[in-house]
């Protein structure tokens, strides 16, 4: 009789341990998603800070393209202010900034003296790496979201997820109309 009690107790304890393990894994995966999201923000802010330097560097050379530079400056201001208005507005503003920067890149391609300038090249590298970092941060966010969503949907962690309100997160989609932007190799 005692044996039965011990065995049942052991099974119950094992079950509890498994449940705790599943719960902790969900917590870990969700925190990774949160961290990845913050990473995107870090890279977006880095871009905000870099743009004034770039605009000033090229302003002297590009007499006829002032509207492109103005568009970039305005888009940057828009992105900074949209940051406070929630993720949807922020995303739209950041995409607009990306589009304006791509136009700037396309224009710089037309100015050979500008392209050859050391400072401009260094700044172009800076912007290339900034765009890449944002892109990789978003990619990493999608990877962590995928792992987390898989855990919330798969048996048996799905049971724990439902019980403790772990809901799936949204993927970060590419900006709509990204295909329509001129082909500029940023990598």
């Amino acid at each position: 009789m005692l044996i039965v009690v011990i065995v049942v107790l052991a099974i119950v304890l094992l079950l509890i341990a498994v449940l705790i393990g599943l719960y902790n894994r969900l917590v870990k995966l969700r925190l990774r998603v949160d961290e990845a999201w913050s990473q995107i923000d870090v890279q977006l802010k880095r871009r905000h800070d870099l743009i004034p330097n770039l605009v000033n560097a090229v302003r002297g050379y590009m007499d006829f393209e002032q509207q492109v530079l103005t568009a970039v400056t305005n888009a940057r201001a828009g992105a900074i202010s949209a940051g406070a208005q929630g993720p949807a507005a922020a995303a739209a503003a950041e995409n607009a900034l990306t589009a304006s920067l791509r136009s700037l890149f396309a224009v710089v391609e037309n100015y050979p003296q500008l392209k050859a300038n050391e400072n401009v090249r260094a700044l172009q590298e800076e912007l290339t790496t900034t765009e890449n970092r944002i892109s990789f941060a978003r990619q990493h966010y999608n990877v962590t979201t995928r792992d987390y969503n898989t855990a919330t949907a798969s048996f048996p962690s799905a049971l724990i997820a439902r019980q403790f309100a772990f809901s799936a997160r949204e993927f970060f989609d590419a900006e709509p109309g990204a295909e329509a932007v001129p082909e500029v190799r940023l990598r």
């Binding site: 990774r32 990845a36 990473q39 890279q43 260094a122 590298e125 800076e126 290339t128 790496t129 890449n132 970092r133 990789f136 941060a137 990619q139 990493h140 990598r187």
Partner: protein, 326 residues
């Protein structure tokens, strides 16, 4: 090699390398047991012999685990390089560190016109990447990203640690076999039990012969398996690089350029050849189709990357050209 996603390729590579490592462990156990039992007909001492060899192997490798980085970097004449000296290199490494979510490794430069790179470090928190000046000069940004992705993947897949583990097993096998062969050579006939271990005679003698056979063959077999593991982890690093960059072309072009470059890396030697992205010892590369190579053949690596792109493998003419360039 028909896998078409990097997830599938990675899973295959991991599975194969784990199976291979397990087989080396099994070989060590078999050798230890055969020797122990063959000598004393006592299973307990057989286990003791195996554990003893393993412990010795671990001790000898501990130094390498903690200080191996420094030795390898010094042997390759790599010097630390700052962000100001190489902004683009640091940017590429930063970008991929974000994609991989690992800390940025220490960055080193090797002054050599032959393009190549290696990574070392027992875990992502203690990692170093070294590239040659030739690599920086000859590769464009996308190709450089492919190479850095490969090296970072070696770090985040814990390949250096894995290789060390396999190395411990292989070293233990070599040690054990060596000691046993010396023992039977110098003290011959020790297998004939001097005390009567009651009924152990026939089986013991048989196991003794088996032990002798294994002692001769096991080190070689273990070495071959170790090389096979190295090749699998190279494929894994290629697939993991694509997972990071999402662009197989970069790495593909980089591999072709590195393999096709006529320059020879001067600091390369047998001890460090397995660390580089492409085997820097040219005559070893030519034998790459064999079991004795640390790296898979370039053509196979390129074809696996092409299958990730959904593109057919290299046509025979291009294959010849690439293989011939090695």
């Amino acid at each position: 090699m028909a896998a078409s996603t990097f997830f599938q390729q990675q899973a295959q590579n991991r599975r194969k390398s784990l199976l291979l490592a397990a087989s080396v462990a099994l070989l060590l156990a078999a050798l230890g047991f055969a020797i122990g039992f063959g000598l004393t007909a006592d299973p307990a001492s057989a286990v003791a012999v195996t554990l003893g060899a393993l412990a010795l192997g671990v001790l000898l490798t501990l130094g390498s685990y903690y200080q191996g980085d420094r030795l390898v970097l010094a042997a390759s004449r790599a010097r630390p390089v700052t962000r100001d000296e190489q902004p683009q290199l640091y940017n590429v490494i930063d970008e991929l560190a974000i994609a991989a979510s690992v800390p940025v490794p220490a960055v080193y430069l090797i002054d050599d016109s032959a393009p190549n790179a290696f990574a070392t470090g027992r875990d992502p928190q203690h990692a170093s990447i070294a590239v040659t000046s030739g690599l920086l000069a000859k590769l464009d940004r996308e190709e450089l990203a492919g190479v850095i992705g490969h090296e970072l993947s070696h770090v985040r897949n814990y390949d250096i640690r894995f290789a060390l583990l396999v190395g411990v097993l292989v070293g233990s096998i070599a040690l054990l076999a060596d000691m046993f062969l010396r023992y039977t050579f110098w003290f011959g006939g020790g297998r004939r039990s001097r005390r009567d271990e009651g009924g152990g005679g026939g089986a013991q003698a048989l196991i003794g012969v088996l032990a002798l056979l294994l002692a001769i063959l096991a080190p070689l077999i273990a070495r071959l398996v170790q090389l096979s593991v190295s090749r699998q982890r190279e494929y894994l690093a290629d697939a993991s690089s694509v997972e990071l960059t999402r662009s197989p072309e970069g790495l593909e072009r980089a591999l072709a350029k590195i393999a096709g470059d006529p320059e020879v890396l001067e600091v390369a030697n047998r001890a460090t050849q397995h660390l580089y992205i492409v085997n820097p010892i040219k005559k070893f590369e030519a034998r790459a189709h064999g079991l004795f190579s640390t790296h898979p053949p370039i053509v196979d690596r390129v074809n696996r990357l092409r299958s990730l792109r959904g593109v057919p493998p290299l046509p025979p003419a291009a294959e010849q050209a690439m293989a011939g360039e090695d």
